[in-house]
Assembly symmetry: C2
Homo-oligomer: 330 residues x 2
DNA sequence: TAACTGTGTGAAATCGTTTAATATATGCTA
DNA sequence: TAGCATATATTAAACGATTTCACACAGTTA
């Protein structure tokens, strides 16, 4: 591929002059500019950004690590992350961790070696120390890593509260929450906290069951329900699932067991991503995450951090409120 | 960030020696190796891949251009593209064209300037000439650009044929095909070709209506059906949609019009991606694309092309067969 | 006329690696 | 003792851009 040298040669000027024309810097005579532009066109010259990156130490590259990119929630989140980033001229390298700690660590190493300008972490399988030591601007989704690393999240506590309140208002007396895995200290765990507290406050029976995993298919969810709830399902009159896919599975499972939804059992989900919006029957009652805001905010927060001279400036967390979407399952 | 020079200084050797230790090249004494490794560890040295890329002219970067990354078909395709590529140590830059020609052209320029090793094109809004002149290894999905550019696709013709045959076998006499936009010469247009031919061969009435767009939401599809088929819907007893989302919308629309599915109208989709697999009611009859094979094959074909010395070697197209998945809408 | 200002251009250093060419020391063989 | 293979480490050029500094020339000002 032709470089700036060939262009300079063809135009009969120095490489400095070509660089000047390309970047509109310094004085350039009209005739010289013309000569250079002609040479660029004729040789179909394309400036080598790699060389620029090396010199300037700025790659305009953002690493995006997600637990599963084909999950409807994350694919939608990625959409908005990319939308904002591309408008600001940043590129996104997509890293699919599959919740595998080794893969996640490898991706971090790769991003560091390739001098990514920043990292958006939506997957959290490593210890906090691992993230702290990579020394690249980071913003996390749904997890607090340290006070110097900003995070973006929706108001999970409020989400859990709204869900419990809604079920209670609808008359439920025996509630169950099927939560995500609680082992890592993620902010989505606040849904379970709020759920418990709200139930207790209203003197309503409650239980929590861990089992709503991101990577689970319909069949996985079905199996989980069948193994853990087959016998006890009729004990509950309201179930709040930590994601819509589990809620959907539960609704069809319950119907299959001849339990009337919502009369005998009310079911709520969480997310309201493209799958749920598309779904017409049932229309799930769920908590809507502001995915567009979350995605854009992740990009915005990271880029602001990258471009601010003062590294400790603006590391405020951003928390978006959620909405209750009422369907016909409650 | 520390460079190889600082490491060399700390270890009391030359940069060449450090480079040798890193890459296991040439002779290195045990004591020297130890000194270097200690220095690397102590300084937390991370080799700069950008510099390597500049020198070797190999970025291990693949540009992936898709029309809409949050669409269930493409997000699943991306999953498998990434899966294969990451195993071969390639990185994926994700480019969401949104079917916008300007955005697509900008992405191509960006990938060229960043010296991507190759490009996977799943979005096709530009003229063929534009793709030919970028001079980077390309593989396309679902479109033939030139005889020197390999493509991967599923057997769209067979898909259209199977769909028509199935509806005919089920007794349909008046068929409609809601196709994708036919303006660009994409291989998915073969579905419409095969549909027409198969109908004609079996002496069955048929029509084709363009309107199944990738970016369409449920509401968009509903509006399309309402505007174009409201009056004529009862004229048909079988409709083959070019994607599952349109088929799903159509099923709910028809039911809303009190048309019995499948008794009065049989509906088929195309894709069988995660949304359709998750969906329990209706269970769509559809044509299953082998998304995993398609994604891996896109990566494999591109990487083979990148790594082969002979640039004209192995530009065979790859075509995967499809399957009929029978649900309860036919 | 000397100093200054505005305009236009080029040589060379720099970013962080790899690698070909070269140097040096050691031990072995003829 | 020269010749040679082996082992180890270094020097310097290269990759393709940007940028600092230097310089040349023309016109203006004091």
């Amino acid at each position: 591929m032709v470089g700036i040298k060939e262009v300079a040669e063809k135009a009969g000027v120095s490489v400095t002059t070509v660089s000047r024309v390309m970047n509109n810097r310094g004085y350039i005579g009209d005739k010289t500019r013309k000569k250079v532009e002609d040479a660029i066109k004729e040789l179909d010259y394309s400036p080598n950004q790699i060389a620029r990156t090396l010199l300037k130490n700025q790659s305009y590259l953002i690493g995006l690590i997600v637990p599963e990119l084909s999950h409807p929630f994350f694919s939608e989140l990625i959409h908005w992350i990319e939308e904002y980033a591309s408008r600001k001229n940043y590129k996104i390298i997509i890293c699919n961790s599959l919740q595998n700690a080794q893969k996640e660590a490898d991706y971090l190493t790769m991003l560091r070696e390739n001098r990514a300008d920043g990292i958006i972490m939506c997957s959290h399988t490593l210890e906090i120390e691992e993230y702290k030591k990579i020394n690249i601007p980071i913003v996390t989704f749904d997890r607090i890593i340290s006070s110097s690393i900003p995070y973006v999240a929706s108001d999970n506590y409020h989400g859990g509260e709204l869900a419990a309140q809604h079920l209670i208002e609808k008359g439920c007396k025996n509630l169950l929450h099927i939560s995500g895995p609680l082992e890592f200290d993620m902010l989505s765990n606040r849904r379970a906290d709020a759920f418990q507290l709200t139930c207790s406050r209203h003197k309503v029976n409650w239980e929590v069951l861990e089992g709503a995993n991101i990577e689970a298919t319909y069949a996985d969810n079905w199996r989980f329900i069948d193994e853990n709830l087959k016998a006890s399902l009729s004990n509950y009159d309201g179930i709040f699932c930590s994601n819509d896919l589990m809620a959907y599975t539960l609704v069809t499972y319950a119907r299959h067991m001849d339990i009337q939804i919502p009369e005998e059992l009310k079911v709520m989900g969480y997310d309201y991503h493209s799958f749920t919006r598309m779904l017409q029957e049932p229309k799930l009652t769920t908590i809507k995450q502001p995915i567009e805001h979350l995605g854009k905010s992740l990009s915005r927060t990271l880029i602001k951090q990258i471009e601010s001279k003062d590294p400790d400036h603006n590391i405020q967390p951003t928390i978006y409120d959620i909405d209750l979407v009422i369907g016909n399952t409650t």
